[in-house]
Amino acid sequence: MTQLLVSAEHIYLRRSGRDLLADASLSVAANEVVTLIGPNGAGKSTLIRVILGLIKPDRGKVRRSERLRIGYMPQRIAIDPSLPLTVERFLSLLGKDKGRLQHCLELTGTARLRQQAVQSLSGGELQRVLLARALYRDPQLLVLDEPVQGVDVSGQAALYRLIQQIKGETGCGVLMVSHDLHLVMASTDRVVCLNQHVCCEGSPESVSSNPAYLQLFGEQTPDVAIYTHQHDHSHDHGDSTDCQR
């Protein structure tokens, strides 16, 4: 039995007369990549923020394993150009571990950017630097909100590969948000399809053929995955469907 890092149970959240989350549940274990997908306005980022403890849900419980170290990669970051901030400094804002810094920069391939101003980075560079920042505290759980945003397609595949590699090396759990199932298919262990509540979840292959998923996303051209990888572990979680609401 793998160690459960975080679980959100029956989360309800209502803002300005609209249900953002209605009975949404999600859990992430160590050494597992969980991808949250769903259409715009499905509450993906909201659920992430509830799990991070940034928003208090109206109802429902969030449980975290004790002293859980979370590395968070926010969806967007807007640093005012008036703040002189190098990549190196951005990473070590709340810590001063030179070895760790170097390790995170090298792992994410951003070592050559270390003296550059954060505001001068391209979209792809910024995402990698944000990932490096999330890794800096040696997290047990990585939470990535649309990690490939603003990255070109080949860069996206590389970034997902990197996330997979990090999971393999550190054994951390990964929770990420994506809007495209096919792109993440190869690098995720479990997919949770959200539309205020959890419509369906399971292995990427099972979700992509699930009627609830197809209903939400329409019939798309199947399988435009950039690459597939060999699973070197088994998926022992049962695939479940729950969209009869």
Partner: protein, 262 residues
């Protein structure tokens, strides 16, 4: 040459204010809080009126009113149907108007309104200087303690919170620091020009700095130069001290534009 005591006091008071206006001003610039700073500064006159009416320390009254207004602003912002700058505009000018009316009602007091609006650096007493030094030292200590957390919050509030920063506490501390600086800066440049003394030196030091700390230090340095330059201008040409200090800062800002950006 023997420096007359009033001028020595003015220089010391000005430098005490500049030392904190620079670093705090940097945060105001980074966090785009210039209009909030302006609003709080405008409300300081209401603090003056309250302090006089209740016969309590004017500095304390200013701090309390500024902090109160900051809290009120956050409450208004939480159920927002108006843009932030509209809200701030309403608060800034309402509180300034209220301050002006309140001061005029205290007509038995011979209140020198002009000195509160534009500062009265050349009239500070030795006691004022000591107060300014005490507040300035307190602010520097607070900034030092909260520096990393303030920076982390400035870069990304939610990221900072996930990484263990108590954002609500740090934000409150920033407001408190701002209220303290406004209370002492009022003596130097007056209610209407406080924000200028905070943001202009900080903006001028942007091109000189390679790190946040450098920018804060340069801002304090430039603000100090502006204080000394402004006082010199005021002394020799008999111009009002506060506006002269601000103009010196503006001149430094223009000079900084000449430096090419790397």
């Amino acid at each position: 040459m023997i420096i007359p005591e009033f001028l020595l006091n003015a220089v010391l008071a000005g430098l005490g204010v500049a030392a904190v206006a620079g670093p705090l001003g940097s945060f105001v610039v980074w966090r785009r809080m210039a209009y909030l700073g302006d609003t709080l500064a405008h409300s300081a006159l209401l603090g003056v009126a309250l302090g006089l009416a209740l016969a309590v320390s004017i500095n304390m009254a200013v701090v309390v009113v500024c902090a109160g207004l900051a809290i009120f602003f956050v409450m208004l912002q939480n159920n927002q149907t108006l843009a932030t700058d509209t809200l701030l505009g309403i608060l800034a000018h309402s509180s300034l108007a209220l301050g002006l009316v309140a001061v005029s009602l205290l007509s038995d007091n011979t209140v020198d309104l002009y000195s509160y609006l534009f500062g009265d650096l050349l009239a500070v007493s030795t006691r004022d200087v000591l107060t300014i030094f005490a507040v300035s030292a307190t602010v520097l200590v607070l900034l030092g303690i909260f520096w990393r957390r303030l920076l982390a919050m400035t870069v990304h509030e939610e990221l900072a919170q996930v990484e263990g920063v108590n954002v609500a506490l740090v934000r409150t501390m920033l407001m408190l620091i701002m209220a303290l600086v406004i209370a002492i800066a009022m003596k130097a440049v007056g209610v209407l020009l406080i924000t200028a003394l905070m943001i202009i030196p900080a903006a001028a030091s942007r091109r000189l700095a390679r790190s946040p700390e450098q920018m804060a230090a340069f801002a304090a340095l430039l603000a100090s130069i502006a204080v000394i330059g402004g006082l010199a201008v005021s002394f020799y040409w008999d111009t009002p001290a506060g506006p002269s200090v601000v103009l010196c800062a503006s001149a430094l800002f223009l000079l900084s534009l000449a430096k090419p950006q790397h």
